[in-house]
Symmetry: C2
Subunit: 303 residues, 2 copies
């Protein structure tokens, strides 16, 4: 199979590494507007060659892995150029806008709107790693608008990557993603800014910060160029999530100032319930190796 990867960064590059290693693709071509990324992707051997969009459009499977702001336009361009059996899959972290953009396209059924939920705080071709997606979750939206063969092709790809796929509507996806992913990026960026603002000489952060701080603020290292468009595309749900977060912080502050220990304890004990959820995530990611049935067992048990 010939696979074209448009956007050879963390996501596109990591897919390339795995599908080559697993023999899923015989040829992998890349497209990237950034000449430095293009050069690095070639040097790192992520792709066989870098090509123009026209040449990439002849691939059997085209993966779109560029920032979400570019996806609607790019998807339309690719659907214009590709031939009939080609499957086009996007990997964006928001799903309403891309689905809306391609809704009326005559080749809509060749497109699969996906969100493989994986990543690190790093970006660019050099950030690509093997098994990035292993035992993680992939979301496919508007399954019914893609042809069965396109869905089948996408499922094969994500299974090769070791992912479990679930189906969801774009609105539902974006609403949950606002809370479970986008909000934690915002909270981390702003925690980083607050601390840097206060601790101007950085020596004190270095001396007093433990692994807890490092963990909480890790996402503040993420790429602004990637995340600004995600926040903007999901502005309504993110705004709601952010306001609720701010309200919870303000209430905590109120009880703190009133020295209301029982209430502080109650809030924190309630938050402790996240342990059950996180243990589930860690269990899923550490114990599940390859087979779908065992994955199902584990997730059923937790859910």
């Amino acid at each position: 199979m010939k696979v074209a990867i448009i956007g050879v960064g963390l996501i596109g590059g990591s897919v390339a590494l795995d599908i080559r290693a697993k023999g899923f693709a015989q040829q992998i071509v890349g497209v990237d507007q950034n000449p430095q990324n293009a050069k690095e992707a070639l040097q790192l051997g992520l792709v066989d060659k870098m090509v123009e969009l026209d040449e990439a459009s002849s691939a059997d499977l085209i993966l779109l892995a560029t920032p979400v702001s570019t996806l609607p336009g790019l998807a339309l361009e690719v659907l214009e150029r590709c031939s009939d059996p080609t499957i086009v899959i996007d990997t964006g972290s928001t799903k309403q806008q891309i689905c809306k953009a391609i809704a009326e396209h005559p080749r809509r059924n060749q497109f699969v709107a996906a969100h493989p939920i994986a990543g690190t705080e790093n970006s660019g071709p050099a950030a690509a790693i093997t098994e990035l997606f292993h035992a993680k979750t992939n979301i496919i939206c508007e399954r019914e608008k893609s042809s069965s063969s396109a869905v089948q092709g996408a499922l094969e790809l994500f299974e090769i990557l070791g992912m479990k796929t679930i189906f969801m509507e774009p609105l539902e996806h974006d609403r949950h993603a606002a809370y479970v992913s986008h909000l934690s990026h915002v909270s981390s960026f702003l925690l980083g800014q607050t601390v840097l603002d206060m601790e101007k000489d950085e020596k004190n952060i270095f001396n007093l910060a433990g692994s807890g701080f490092a963990s909480t603020v890790r996402l503040a290292k993420s790429s602004p160029q990637m995340w600004a468009p995600i926040f903007e595309q999901n502005v309504e749900f993110l705004s709601q999530a952010l306001l609720e977060y701010i309200m919870h912080l303000q209430r905590f502050h109120y009880h703190l100032m009133k020295h209301d220990t029982p209430e502080l304890l109650r809030i924190m004990s309630q938050a402790n319930n996240i342990r059950r959820v996180l243990d589930g995530i860690e269990l899923k990611q550490s114990t599940v190796r390859t087979t779908d049935p065992s994955l199902k067992d584990v997730t059923d048990k937790i859910q």
Copy 2:
């Protein structure tokens, strides 16, 4: 040397494991008001025996590792009972209140006010692990109020644990700790609460949460009983840090609603500077093994 550990939880238990392994203590006795903890600590072999405070007071070195709310009273009790050469060291995450509580005690110079900055989100004797403190930072406050032999004894202990000790005033410690440690716990607790509040069936968190969310919300698993007193003792600095954090979040929300992409990018790029700090923390914790000189090289370079 006979060492008494009062509070055989994560911190006390982890110290016990290391000082036994390194031959620093020939006998370790434990004190714990919680019968379950006392039982577990014995079963896990953290201590040789559990004793009453009176018996513990005859040790050469007494380590206080109970929640900070209990430290002022406990420190006074222990100083009353111990004999002249005994060194008493606390490990609390706040330093103003404990220092104030013992300021006028005739045995103040046998006391060393310390904060070994290490921990995990787990608590209790079963959470104790070896090398918890390795290559991390210990703070000693009011060094000049402790006798040289007490400071020397404390430095030996923390060196055995693999820690670098720096000296700081209690007020300075508490102010920085509010930003670099306490605030990230609050932000994590409330992020956990916000998401749990929204995602009531938990299935969606499980399906959509990636490793980024897990990292950001990890501290929400921490013990409320341990953290409520820390927040309360450091209420002024924490309140300030929390209000600044809320202000940053509100400003971000404002720019988000105004679709002010350049400003969002500017804020996130600024927050990216935390990478330099975190790389330093990780470097310190992963590359430095035992010797003080090499630790100094690394930290000098980063600072």
